[in-house]
Amino acid sequence: MVEGLNLALDQAMAADDRVLVMGEDVARTGGVFRVTAGLLDKYGDDRVIDTPLAEAGIVGTAIGMAVYGLLPVIEIQFDTFVYPGFEQIVVHAARYAWRTRGEVPASIVVRIPFGGGVRAPELHSDSPEALFAHVPGLKVVCPSTPEDARDMLLAAIEHPDPVIFMEPKRIYRAGRQDFPEEPPFDISSADGVTTDYLSKARIARSGHDLALISYGATVPACMEAAERLSSERGVDARVVDLRSLYPLDVDTLVDAATACGRAVVVHEAPRTAGLGAEVSSLIHERAMLDLEAPVGRVTGFDVPFPQFINEDDYIPSVDRILAGCNKVLDW
């Protein structure tokens, strides 16, 4: 996935001179996860910028640049460190379009490596996506494959609205995938196309007995759970990778629930008021009569992300996902 993200940045910067990258340690070292590696040499220090250590400053100045007409892509070093920039995102980035008659949206991308599972120190493993999905004016997306990472980041950069781009760091280096290097759309005339890449779920596995709905680092776990359901109980699960967390792809969700009659939502973030609650609610509202059982949830717990020795107790494992599926199947 890291290569896919790097490719997207490279292609966007090559094709569109409004694009620039900034954040802490992104230029000289290419970022702590190496997502911006090589860009400084190619595009110079006017477009690949190591900033002072100040997230409110990074987000805030990016907004100003966007108002000027540039397309800044900013990197937050780790999930938890976005919080000092929260006010700028929630109050300003999210409302620029609204407060300028829709004419000047804050066209920024906020890239946030997030989530646990990499044995990181305390406060390096949060999943804050629901906080952003709750804020009107933001688009919130999360790829789970290298190709989606590339395509969605390119689209996010060219997209008019501010995009919170959640990067599941646990699968940063997992799942190599060959995909065509060519950008999926013409970057110089991306108007109107970008929304497609930022609003549609992906059917990661087809099936008709149970819809397993997830995003980010828990998608591969759901795929594994689906294989086991198939071999252990002959249940054919459809795996839906949400990709867009706001707005949700309601058609794909309702289709899946209607076709399968049973659904389970899986995410690593805490349960209460998480994305699972929204997905479950949508399905109940729109496909109630097609359901054989209430929608299930397999999520992180309502606790701070634990110290890393216990992180596997927190992160939904394949076994926990299976248990959640069995509950819904046996309801």
Partner: protein, 355 residues
């Protein structure tokens, strides 16, 4: 404001300054033993990380003087506010050395955290600069109640870019809170040089705009760090308000065990600064004073190794906690049902842990 206060010379061209008033031979030896203990902790922790017995670790090799020096100037009633770089500071206040090791082993709860009121040491702060307002709030509260205590808060050069630094400085000055802002200017924030954090020549001069005094000291010199902090504390305790100390030094080690500084800086420069590292330099100074000899130095090292050997044993005696550790300490009041339900989803035999 560019002058740098130093006391320890180089035993050659740079003469030693006058011996600080108020530091007996015993006190000097105590400071030295603290430096040695911190150094031993740090080297041991790096070795444990390399062996996979603890997780990522941000070493402070070379910054021992910025920790032992100011702390020695404090009273027991003063509160300490470490950043993530001072993660072992509690051991100089009686915290078992196994506790910061367990924290770095990825164990929380009663093993890796502590009650800050017991030691007057706050939890270490990982999000940069965000603990500075807490240090101000505590000192301000104590002042409201007429209690004479101060806060000593550590942070890096990078932290001075965060809004919280500026807000904390301003609050402290406006309310005359007794706070010592101790900035360890090691000139690096991961790969970012201090010239990218600020356009001012010094960190110290930032104090002017908030209406508080400041001083720059040699961050490799524990006595300079001690002496500046002592003066700042005397002033703060008598209602004079906060003080900014800039301890100018250099990050001699990588940012942490996962970092490779050769990717972004000239390591020859780091090697040149290394000549100033505080443990060897303080030892040489104390020998010049006739306070330290081989026997005493050996005793300090032996004591530190023993403390650390015990700490590693204690660390390894702690078994992997069960999932109860995720839920039990989250609230100060009774666990909401959402948590009890989560906890009860684990098989009973797992909950206590030990696997």
């Amino acid at each position: 404001m560019t002058d740098i206060l130093a006391i320890i010379g180089d035993g050659d061209e740079i003469p030693d300054g006058p011996r600080p008033q108020g530091l007996s031979d015993k006190a000097l030896l105590r400071i030295f033993s603290w430096l040695v203990l911190l150094r031993t902790f740090d080297e041991r922790a790096v070795a444990l990380q390399r062996q996979g017995r603890i997780g990522t670790y941000p070493m402070f090799w070379g910054e021992e003087a910025t920790q032992a020096g100011p702390l020695f100037a404090c009273d027991e009633s003063d509160w300490l506010w470490p950043s993530y770089r001072q993660s072992a500071i509690g051991i100089l206040r009686g915290l078992p050395a196994s506790t910061p090791l367990l924290y770095r082993r990825g164990i929380g709860g009663a093993h890796g955290f502590w009650n800050p009121r017991t030691y007057r040491v706050a939890p270490i702060c990982i999000p940069i600069g965000t603990h500075l307002p807490h240090a101000v709030g505590l000192a301000w509260a104590a002042r409201m109640r007429g209690e004479s205590l101060a806060s000593l808060v550590w942070f890096g050069d990078g932290a001075t870019s965060e809004g919280d630094f500026h807000e904390a400085m301003n609050f402290a000055a406006v309310f005359k809170a007794p706070v010592i802002f101790f900035c360890v200017n090691n000139q690096w924030a991961i790969s970012t040089p201090v010239s990218r954090q600020t356009a001012t020549e010094t960190i110290a001069e930032k104090a002017v705009a908030y209406g508080m005094p400041a001083v720059r000291v040699d961050g490799f010199d524990p006595l300079a760090c001690w002496s500046a902090t002592r003066q700042a504390l005397d002033r703060a305790r008598t209602g004079g308000g906060p003080f900014l100390i800039e301890a100018y030094c250099y990050r001699l080690a990588p940012h942490g065990t996962a970092d490779d500084p050769s990717r972004y800086r000239d390591e020859a420069e780091a090697r040149r600064w290394r000549a100033l590292e505080p443990v060897g330099r303080t030892a040489a100074y104390l020998r010049r004073l006739g306070v330290l000899d081989d026997e005493r130095e050996e005793a300090a090292r032996l004591e530190a190794s023993e403390i650390m050997a015990r700490a590693v044993e204690d660390m390894e005696a702690v078994e992997r906690p069960g999932p109860a550790i995720l839920f039990e300490p989250v609230y100060g009041s009774a666990m909401p049902w959402t948590l009890s339900e989560g906890l009860s989803s684990f098989p009973a035999e797992w909950v206590a842990g030990g696997a």
